[in-house]
């Protein structure tokens, strides 16, 4: 790792001030950023640690309205009793990110700000029609995720929370890479008052996306059987050593079926 200057922020305003020094980056759980710095893929001059800002932590559930603070760990999202009641699919998703030690540190805000094309949370927020709240504005998930590791965030902007209204039904299924355990394809489906949404992670060559083929089929009938014979075009899917675009296209349908079954269980 190259040399770096560490700053611990005490509040969101303090963090926004400290980010102005050099080529600084915000540090959330650090489960991606620290390993990236170790391999010198990332080399910020300064780090502004957001982990000690109490305002950024915690989960609030009021009726169907959910607010999750950006510095809330995957472990806390996986184990929050109120959240499990209104949106068990999101808790289930969080309980399968990385491993227990990673879930103790990694945060939802860090994950969405990083927007790894194989991360789990982006698919959930897109399918839930969530809003990403920052220290400057509110951004709809549809407008937030811009591409591989790209978001609508400005350089100095801090994700402070994500909010959404829990849909009547939701489910998530992923096919993890056998070695890295990242999603080779993950599909999050929801059925709420505004209809059906299905978001895919791990498969798109430009990051997370909504599948209109899956959504159309599930709008007709929100059951796995509705996806029989449905195909998803492979043209804009990722191909790598692990799977061809065609293989991923098939996985999208298979994972969508499993996600719907989980949503209806």
């Amino acid at each position: 790792m190259y040399s770096v200057n560490y700053h611990r922020a005490t509040s969101v305003a303090d963090a926004a001030k400290k980010i102005k020094s050099g080529d600084a980056k915000y540090l959330a759980g650090g489960m991606t950023l620290i390993p990236a710095m170790k391999t010198r893929l990332a080399a910020p001059s300064d780090l502004v640690d957001l982990n000690h800002i109490a305002d950024l932590k915690g989960i609030k559930v009021s009726g169907k309205n959910v607010t999750i603070g950006a510095a809330t760990t995957h472990f806390d999202v996986a184990n929050d009793e109120k959240l499990k009641k209104v949106c068990p699919a999101l808790s289930h998703l969080a309980s399968h990110i990385g491993d227990p030690a990673v879930r103790h540190r990694g945060t939802i805000g860090g994950s969405v700000a990083n927007n790894d094309p194989a991360a789990d949370y982006p698919s959930a927020l897109l399918a839930l029609g969530a809003t990403i709240v920052t220290n400057k504005r509110q951004i709809a998930a549809d407008k937030f995720f811009k591409g591989l590791f790209e978001t609508a965030l400005k350089d100095d902007e801090i994700v402070t929370a994500v909010t959404f209204t829990a849909p009547a039904r939701s489910g998530y299924a992923k096919f993890p890479n056998p070695a890295s355990r990242y999603a080779m394809t993950g599909v999050f489906v929801t059925k709420g008052k505004d209809g059906v949404r299905a978001a895919v992670t791990g498969a798109g060559d430009d990051g997370v996306f909504r599948s209109k083929e899956i959504e159309a089929a599930l709008t007709r009938k929100f059951e796995a059987s509705a996806l029989e014979g449905v195909t998803v075009p492979s043209g804009s899917l990722m191909g790598d050593i692990h799977a061809t675009p065609e293989y991923r296209a098939n996985l999208v349908v298979v994972m969508a079926k499993r996600a719907v079954m989980a949503a209806n269980a």
């Binding site: 190259y2 770096v4 650090g30 620290i34 170790k38 990385g98 103790h104 540190r105 890295s180 355990r181």
Partner: protein, 166 residues
């Protein structure tokens, strides 16, 4: 450079470290606590797992300065003098190791796992929870056996303690 101060295995420690110093290197090189291992260095193998404020974390994936102000327990802090911690004793009894390189991380992960599952553990849960710890010798069988045995011993001990208290 930053001044860090934390409590490690019940002892207050402090020191000046470069900000880029990883927690694992602070433990090993500054404090001489070499029980915590660096295996893969890519946060996958879990040989570096320690408890930070009571929770299992990978000390190769956090900076020492991030841990400043925290309470850290390493493998050296588990035993009570000459008495092995129940998880250590179970690894010995069930031969949950061969070369032993992954063992400190396995034991720290296991104690955290048992703490989070006071209701007891089954084999499937133990195997799933070991996702972040890699052992290249044992095929995990004896490690799983040891964790299941330790979980039983520890739940019995806490029950008899509760009985005595009542």
């Amino acid at each position: 450079m930053s001044e860090v101060s934390l409590v490690v295995n019940g002892r207050k420690v402090s020191g000046a470290v470069e900000d880029r110093t990883l927690l694992v290197h602070f433990l090993r090189e500054h404090l001489g606590l070499t029980g915590t291992h660096v295996g893969c260095d890519t946060s996958q193998c879990g040989a570096c797992v320690v408890h930070v404020d009571g929770k299992a974390m990978k000390s190769c994936s956090m900076l020492a300065v991030q841990a400043s102000g925290s309470t850290v327990t390493t493998i050296e802090g588990l035993a009570n003098g000459a008495d092995l911690h129940p998880v250590q004793a179970a690894f010995k009894e069930h031969h949950g190791l061969q070369c032993g390189f992954c063992t400190p991380g396995m034991i720290m992960t296991a104690t955290d796992m048992i703490r989070r599952h006071p209701e007891g553990l089954d084999e499937a849960t133990v195997r799933a929870e070991l996702e972040g710890n890699i052992c290249r010798c044992t095929g995990y069988h004896n490690i799983v056996k040891a964790i299941l045995a330790a979980s039983k011993t520890m739940s019995k001990a806490s029950k008899s303690k509760a009985k005595k208290a009542a």
